[in-house]
């Protein structure tokens, strides 16, 4: 089972080391992890995608992470009505002959072309993981040079922020 956790942490030195150290020590199966600043200057929000056997294992992940001194709050937003996004930048081989086909694909996916040169172009897409996976698959035919993805971030719909959940 896959779950998404919103983890609010104090923005102090070493906090990411503590989180990653804990994940490796407890052998948790983390699928994605994305961190960034928030509306509060001293708080960092980390979205963690975790794969677990059952709810007991999830309880362990949450309880162990909660014990870290710099972890302020963990909200399980898996079952909360929420918006989930990931950003990907994909560098694809493109020449005169296939460029227009590429542009079609990009349009179908509502992606954006953010860099063009004679040999390649860079496609930007934000969306759910599955959508990015699908685009990558199609682009494989053109020849992908490199992919960079941010990992999933998520926010609930409605007025309640994760810190108050």
């Amino acid at each position: 089972m896959k779950y998404i956790l919103a983890v609010l942490v104090e923005n102090r030195p070493g906090v990411l080391t503590h989180i990653s150290g804990l994940i490796s020590r407890r052998a948790f199966n983390i699928e994605s992890i994305a961190a960034g600043p928030t509306e509060e200057v001293d708080t960092t929000r980390i979205t963690i995608g975790v794969e677990v056997e059952d709810e007991f294992e999830l309880e362990q992940v949450v309880n162990q992470l909660s014990k870290l001194v710099n972890v302020i709050k963990i909200a399980n937003i898996t079952y909360v009505d929420s918006i989930q996004r990931e950003l990907a930048l994909i560098k694809v081989r493109a020449n005169k002959a296939n460029r227009s086909d590429l542009v079609d694909v990009v349009e179908i996916f509502r992606a954006k072309i953010v860099d063009v040169n004679r040999e390649t172009l860079v496609v930007e897409l934000s969306g759910e993981e599955s959508k990015i996976d699908a685009l990558c698959e199609v682009l494989t035919d053109f020849g992908i040079l490199e992919i960079v993805r941010t990992g999933r971030i998520a926010i609930s719909r409605g007025p309640v922020p994760a810190k108050d959940m």
């Binding site: 080391t17 309880e59 302020i72």
Partner: protein
């Protein structure tokens, strides 16, 4: 008043009522040691940083206070690692202070630089790297607060050399502000009502006590629960001492080397109440087969312990200093008494198990039985000594055969199983409890792992009594090789030229030796009466098994009760 960073550290220690530190100097902590010199702050120089950290641990276990140790950067810090991990596994409050290279040298592979925060992240409750003197008072305050509150544990503070030399107008903060840290004390009392319901329904209950009772110092409340209810008690290695070994309800230690009665009771009970335990695999064996008929209740301060190893049907989260008094109250209120289990003949049954198969030795008459050595010391000290062990067969025999009377009287590395823990831990305990008899049971293997601390012992005139249970083998390894590896004794003999009596004497510790059974009593009596530190080298037969034994992965009721010696 302007103060050097090093002096700030000392002032903070005073504010935290630290009365002694254990440590070892070096380049990055020279200013700190200079401050020790100038302030005449009590400090014990061990002969190895591992000695310092175990000594701080022994000090903490024996008293419940927070132990403190110092080490320099690089190798000083890495030498602390085993001791920090030892304290972490057994939830011991400790503050380790290490020096770090100068701020501008951090990250450059500078001389004696090691990323000790990175290294100790998985084995500390928390750690800090201090690069600015302004942060120092607050970090010190937080470190002590974190180490001793909630579930205690070691905290490491790595302080750059520059910080010790910088100056500051010192004010010690009165409070800490840790947004993400909750040290829970009182929990939800409804959970205790559910425990009472379960007790009312139970016919064959067992109470399983662990290190949490010793750490929280709630042995009195725990005894009260037993007195009121007469429920049979079993203990983990770490729980020994909190209930006197000789109360009739006490069935002894449970698990791999648990007693017959404790293990049988676990398998047959219909209610198992774990109090401050973590259901370690040495206790449970295969978790699927642990207490199969029982409703399991888990009392703990750490929510992450519940359902970690064993699924609990009910939990009581909170400090035992909160939950146990409340439990007593409600037991009285609902008149839960001894009659209940007597009706089900449960109490009689467990007592029968106890009588039927007491702890046995498989040794032929003639040699000195290791268990006899421990029983004799138990008798001579009337169960009132602080007992320290190393790791191996002698540790298990001590757990089984010493008759403990008080909480925090048994200091042993349970979770990590660290050979070399014993001698320095005994030093730490003796320093803080000078009036107490402190007896170390160690092995011929273990004593060599921190034998340099004999010098610390002698030079500080500490009257620790060391009993080397000298079977001339790494006995526990030997036993497994005998049982599971076709008696192929690969590298488990310590037979050689070492003379422990001379080793002791060379460092200023009196040495005695026992070679024949008839000498045992008189030599032990003499040793315990002697003024200063004494090492007694007791020559034991090579082959004796710790029994009973549950083979790894076996069921607790399938114990090997007789040895396969020969």
């Amino acid at each position: 008043m302007k103060m050097l960073g090093a002096e700030v550290v000392i002032e903070c220690l005073k504010a935290e009522e630290v009365d002694i530190v254990f440590g070892y100097p070096g380049g990055a902590v020279l200013t700190l040691y200079d401050a020790l010199f100038k302030t005449d702050f009590p400090h014990i120089l061990t002969r190895h940083e591992q000695g310092a950290v175990h000594a701080a641990d022994g000090y903490a276990r024996a008293t419940g206070k927070t132990g403190v140790c110092f080490a320099t950067s690089g190798p000083g810090g890495t030498n602390l690692v085993t001791g920090i991990a030892t304290a972490y596994m057994d939830s011991i409050p400790l503050v380790a202070i290490t020096g770090q290279v100068g701020v501008s040298l951090i990250g450059k592979d500078s001389f004696q630089e090691a990323d000790i925060c990175g290294i100790t992240t998985p084995i500390t409750k928390h750690n800090y790297l201090v690069k600015k003197i302004q942060d120092l008072p607050c970090v010190m305050k937080e470190a002590f607060y974190i180490a001793r509150t909630g579930r205690p544990g070691p905290v490491l503070i790595d302080i750059s050399k520059d910080v010790f030399n910088d100056t500051l107008d010192f004010v010690y903060p009165e409070t800490v502000c840790l947004r993400g840290y909750r040290s829970l004390f009182a929990g939800n009392s409804n959970q205790i009502d559910l425990v009472i319901d379960a007790l009312e329904k139970a016919e064959k209950p067992v109470i399983f006590v662990g290190g949490g009772v010793n750490i929280s110092g709630t042995s009195e409340e725990m005894r009260k629960v037993i007195n009121l209810t007469g429920i049979p008690v079993i203990s983990s290695l770490m729980g020994l001492g909190c209930i006197p070994s000789d109360v009739p309800e006490h069935l002894g230690m449970v698990g791999m080397h648990g007693t017959y009665a404790a293990n049988m009771a676990t398998m047959d009970c219909d209610l198992l109440i774990g109090i401050g335990v973590r259901f370690d695999d040495r206790v449970t064996s295969l978790v699927q087969n642990f207490a199969p008929k029982a409703t399991i209740i888990h009392f703990d301060i750490d929510p992450a312990e519940v359902n970690k190893n064993v699924r609990a049907d009910l939990k009581v989260i909170g400090d035992l200093r909160w939950s146990l008094p409340l439990l007593c109250e409600k037991i009285v209120e609902h008149s839960i008494t001894k009659k209940q289990w007597a009706k089900a003949e449960w109490v009689d049954l467990v007592q029968e198990w106890k009588r039927e198969k007491p702890l046995a030795s498989s040794l032929p008459a003639g040699g000195i039985r290791p268990q006899t050595v421990i029983e004799k010391v138990s008798e001579l000290t009337q169960g009132e000594a602080i007992i320290v062990t190393d790791v191996g067969q002698h540790q298990m025999w001590t757990a089984q055969s010493y008759s403990f009377n008080t909480q925090r009287s048994f200091l042993t590395s349970g979770g990590l199983g660290t050979m070399g823990y014993g001698l320095p831990a005994a030093i730490g305990a003796q320093i803080t409890l000078p009036e107490k008899d402190v007896v170390l049971f160690t092995g011929d293997g273990s004593i060599m792992m921190n034998c340099q601390e004999l010098a610390t012992l002698a030079d500080n005139g500490l009257p620790v009594k060391i009993i080397v249970m000298n079977n001339q083998v790494l006995g526990m390894v030997n036993q497994w090789q005998r049982m599971f590896y076709g008696k192929r004794y690969s590298h488990s003999s310590t037979k050689g030229c070492t003379d422990f009596v001379k080793l002791a004497e060379a460092m200023g510790v009196a040495g005695l030796r026992v070679t024949k059974p008839e000498e045992l009593n008189s030599v032990l009596e003499k040793a315990l009466k002697m003024e200063g530190p004494v090492l007694v080298d007791v020559l034991l037969p090579e082959t004796e098994d710790v029994l009973p034994m549950v083979a790894p992965g076996g069921r607790l009721d399938q114990m090997v009760l007789r040895g396969i010696i020969g």
